[in-house]
Point group: C2
Chain length 202, copies 2
DNA sequence: GTCTATAAGTAGATAGAC
DNA sequence: GTCTATCTACTTATAGAC
């Protein structure tokens, strides 16, 4: 076990890895300790208990996602451009953090209010502004759509779902068809953009 | 507690409810017993242990999904019609079983091989045939797409994602914008169909 | 078949030596 | 700061009465 990083950080990274993979309920303090190459007791020395450790990880994850979204919505472009930027950035993010979508969706379902405040403050303002912008463009006729909420749900689904499902998908189709899953996931950037463009073309 | 159904079935239904909501790791035998209105010991009398009980539920869920998919792919129609039929049936299924998508995606990630066989035999044959059909229509030019796998991922994402995310979405946008979440979810049937039609129009 | 009581096993948390 | 050993609490599983 390499000792170059300080212990606290090693624990934190180990916890991140284990929590993202197993979730709060499935994660074991012992596994985190092993992963960090230290003793279980040290976990409690640095982070008082499992919940505090989890909260740290979870808040950091949400924070990271939020700021990414924020920066996109601050762009001064039209809806289609914003969506395409969104797609490009988030496919890359998820590519490097494949457990992220399921982890967030799950923990949110298990503890519905742990982070409702967190989310409200960070994302929702931008989200709502963007929904207004979509509505405006629909009325102007520059994009063909009916309900901004549906559009947002659709784009998020196109981006996120493949990452949540890809291990299953890989198993279903067999290695032959999916030998290049990674390439497929990256390809989705242009695939989704094209799909959206066609769907929204007036 | 109503005793009209036999105990085994009551346990089974309680277990289904709890497992789907909490997952294998998060579910508690006590909670299942309470939900079924019986004693914990009876769970072990009817189903030897937690794992066997879970397996029963899980296999049944997968089975149900599989047969649904199967019947759609057996239709003798073109790709667009099949996809639309798929959308209509599955939105209704998920509407009545909202925990299903996350449950399946999760448990599959936790026990990657428990059901690889299950899936292979039921769905994969039809899936592959359908991918071939898509490829043929792409080549004939009746639909505009590039990669059948991407198309399938996209449609599944459009259908499934909103159900996986809807509690979070509801929280983010606040009750005002989402007072009719249920209507929104059902609306997705025509929304997705329209979205696909436009995206695939040659 | 169904219950109460309890055993056995597991996981989180703490005490105390170094 | 880090470890070993241990405690406590929780969860699954079983024994045995009815």
């Amino acid at each position: 076990m390499v000792k170059d990083k300080n212990t606290e950080q090693r624990i934190y990274e180990a916890a991140r890895k284990v929590f993202l993979k197993k979730g709060m309920a499935g994660a074991r303090m012992q596994e985190i300790a092993d992963e960090a190459g230290i003793n279980k007791a040290l976990l409690h020395y640095y982070f008082r208990n499992k919940e505090k450790l989890f909260d740290g990880i979870f808040n950091e994850v949400i924070e990271r996602i939020s700021t990414g979204i924020q920066s996109i919505f601050e762009l001064e472009t039209n809806v289609l451009e914003k969506l395409k930027e969104f797609v490009n950035i988030y496919v890359d993010v998820l590519f490097e953090n494949r457990y992220l979508p399921l982890f967030v969706l799950n923990e949110m379902n298990q503890h519905p209010d742990r982070f409702s405040i967190l989310l409200k403050e960070n994302i929702v303002v931008h989200m709502k502004k963007f929904l207004v912008q979509i509505q405006e463009e629909i009325e102007k006729g520059t994009i063909r759509a009916e309900n901004p909420v549906h559009l947002l749900l659709s784009v998020l689904g196109l981006i996120i779902f493949p990452f949540a499902v890809y291990p299953l998908f890989k198993k279903m189709l067999g290695e032959e068809l999916m030998e290049n899953t990674d390439i497929l996931l990256i390809e989705r950037k242009k695939e989704i953009c094209l799909f959206i463009e066609n769907a929204l073309k007036p």
